[in-house]
Amino acid sequence: MSDSREQILSRVRTALAPLKERAPLPDWERELVILREARAATDAWTLFAERLKAVNGTPLTAISELVTILDSNGWRHGYCDPVLWPQLQAAFPASFTVETEFDRTRVDDYTFGITAASGAIAETGTLILTDSGTSRRLGALAPWVHVALLRRDQIFLDIPAAVAALPQDPNVIWVTGPSKTADVEGILIEGVHGPGRQIALLV
């Protein structure tokens, strides 16, 4: 393979050698790609909540609302990050079964997964998940409902701000609404491989 490395790099050098000058790297102002709404926003959560709804996500501000949604849909068996469970436990009635260990041999048993968000982007309604902030990648992904717990001070207004603050983490995922496809005749269907319901709960 090191032969291939040398071969490729030497071909690249040969290909570029005849160029008298190389195209320069332009600089650009981040304002160019920031939406008007983000520039005008006074409250990051309000904008985030509005944009999340626009991509069919659900912003919530009270644990009781979350419990009502889960209960009324019959989603009573789920996974919760063990660190978060103590602060949520009291709000969940006894009819719920919530596990703090995720067993990958029973992925279909979990109807919801509750994990921590590592951030959010207001202008796009995006949740940011990381390896260091998520207790289980699968717990946030495999169940039909994903609930991300978000703090107000974690919300970036726009994409350039979130890019500038990309953490040193091997797995950063921006989630913008529920998993979806339009592969069959262009018809939008939600919940393909990831969650069909994406909920952000402000804590």
Partner: protein
């Protein structure tokens, strides 16, 4: 006068396929335009800027490739290089064999299509399962994708329902939601049973070594939550200089491809999982693939290496809308394919030399391109290359020009022809039995013959 291969194919595209492709592409294109122009003050500036940044990368790959390699290694990834398709396939196989792995789940990657990876692995006893819904359907049908972003734009729900029934995925049901749920249920257990997850990369930051992969379905995310080894196949042109440039490219990619503000899952991978994380790959391999890209880099068409595979040029192209993707006989269809496919064919350029002619040169592809590739110019350069190399396909569909060339290269013959042309005014041209000529004349009248006027005018202007 033999028709072009693309014309021959298009003549037999079923009417409902054509209608589906036309509607699908037109709708996406219109949504894209509305979104870009409603949300940004100057979307054209964004395209030009992105084009300049990618052109800079392409012309400085000799600096950026070693730089990104060092970054990736520092992040804990293993870096491999593959000069050819065969080498790329062999590199994947070797990584799998070294781990004793036999099952792979694949996210959508155009490079893997290009090198025919799934086929290569299957022949060697390895299950390589496509997990993008469209690609999965393409795979069970032993078909080929016909669009960069919407692989089964050419199929309808009835065909898909039949395929699912045939594969034992439930009784016939053509409801798109049922189809999607069945795929979800089938594939999630495949992820969990697989040893290796394979992805491509939409962008790689040379500054940090981050790989960026975007999907709407979450299949690449599931692959990298369930498996223990991640392999990424990356074309050598996929780099961007800095992390901050991703803010520009992500905004453009999602809008250009599917008219979304952001794709549902935008994933940044920069190495094996954290030790504290129970799920995900302990090993990460990045394979940089050349497969004739360096030849494209050496050519006068290197601008095509800016391409970010969004499919916007397919959606707007009047030829693609009628012909659909399979007409291009290549992994990359549409205007970008008409440039890229003959170039990537390398020594087999002549086999694809007709593709640059599959365009009216209307320029719409250039206008929508998020990296501002001058596709019509590149098509012209390739038409020229085809003629210079005497590729027979480059002349298919062109009327014979031998007689014209005799007349036009002899002044005496030319003068006679101009004089004799007056006869056109008296010929009943409407009755010449050539359908194209008759169709043209049904709505138009030939002007009076004016041959020789210019020569007369020129004669009087000659300086003494």
């Amino acid at each position: 006068m033999a028709k072009q291969l693309l014309d021959q194919f298009t003549a037999h595209v079923p009417a409902d396929t054509r209608a589906a492709v036309y509607l699908g592409t037109k709708t996406t294109h219109e949504k894209r335009t509305k979104m870009l122009f409603d949300q940004f003050a100057d979307p054209n500036r964004l395209r030009q800027l992105a084009g300049e940044i990618k052109q800079h990368v392409v012309e400085n790959l000799d600096t950026y490739l070693p730089q990104v390699e060092a970054k990736l290694k520092a992040n804990g990834a293993q870096v491999h290089w593959a000069a050819t398709a065969e080498e790329a396939c062999a590199a994947v196989l070797k990584i799998m064999q070294d781990r004793g792995a036999t099952k792979m789940v694949k996210a959508k990657t155009m490079v893997s299509e290009e090198i025919e990876l799934a086929h290569y692995l299957e022949k060697r006893g390895i299950e390589a399962l496509e997990t993008d819904l469209g690609e999965f359907i393409v795979q069970i049908d032993k078909d080929h994708p016909s669009h960069l972003v919407r692989p089964i734009i050419h199929k309808n729900r009835r065909e898909i329902a039949q395929s699912f029934e045939r594969e034992g995925l439930g009784a016939y049901n053509d409801d798109p939601e049922t189809i999607t749920r069945r795929a979800r249920q089938f594939l999630r257990h495949k992820y969990l049973a697989a040893d290796v997850g394979l992805t491509g990369a939409n962008f790689v930051s040379a500054e940090s070594g981050r790989l960026v992969v975007v999907t709407n379905e979450g299949n690449s995310r599931f692959s990298l939550a369930a498996t223990k080894c991640h392999i990424a196949l990356v074309g050598i042109e996929k780099l961007v200089p800095r992390d901050r440039d991703l803010g520009l490219f992500l905004n453009l990619l999602a809008r250009s491809a599917t008219a979304q503000q952001l794709t549902v899952y935008t994933e940044f991978f920069s190495g094996p999982k954290l030790p504290s994380q129970p799920d995900g790959p302990e090993e990460m391999h990045v394979i940089f693939v050349d497969n004739n890209r360096t030849e494209v880099l050496a050519s006068d068409c290197r601008e095509i290496l800016r391409c970010i595979r969004c499919g916007a040029c397919l959606n707007v192209c009047p030829v693609y809308r009628q012909a659909s993707g399979h007409a291009y006989r290549s992994v990359y269809p549409g205007p970008v394919g008409a440039v890229l496919s003959p170039l990537l064919a390398g020594a087999h350029f002549a086999d694809k030399a007709d593709l640059p002619k599959a365009s009216s040169l209307c320029g719409a592809c250039n206008e929508v391109c998020p990296v501002n590739i001058p596709i019509p110019d590149l098509l012209l350069r390739l038409r020229d290359k085809g003629k210079r190399e005497y590729a027979p396909l480059a002349s298919a569909g062109t009327p014979p020009m031998g007689g014209w060339s005799v007349i036009a290269t002899s002044p005496a013959a030319w003068k006679t022809a101009l004089f004799g042309g007056k006869i056109m005014d008296y010929l009943p041209t409407k009755f010449i039995p050539v359908p194209a000529l008759q169709a043209w004349q049904a709505k138009r009248t030939l002007p009076k013959w004016r041959g020789g006027e210019f020569r007369k005018w020129m004669k009087n202007r000659r300086k003494p």
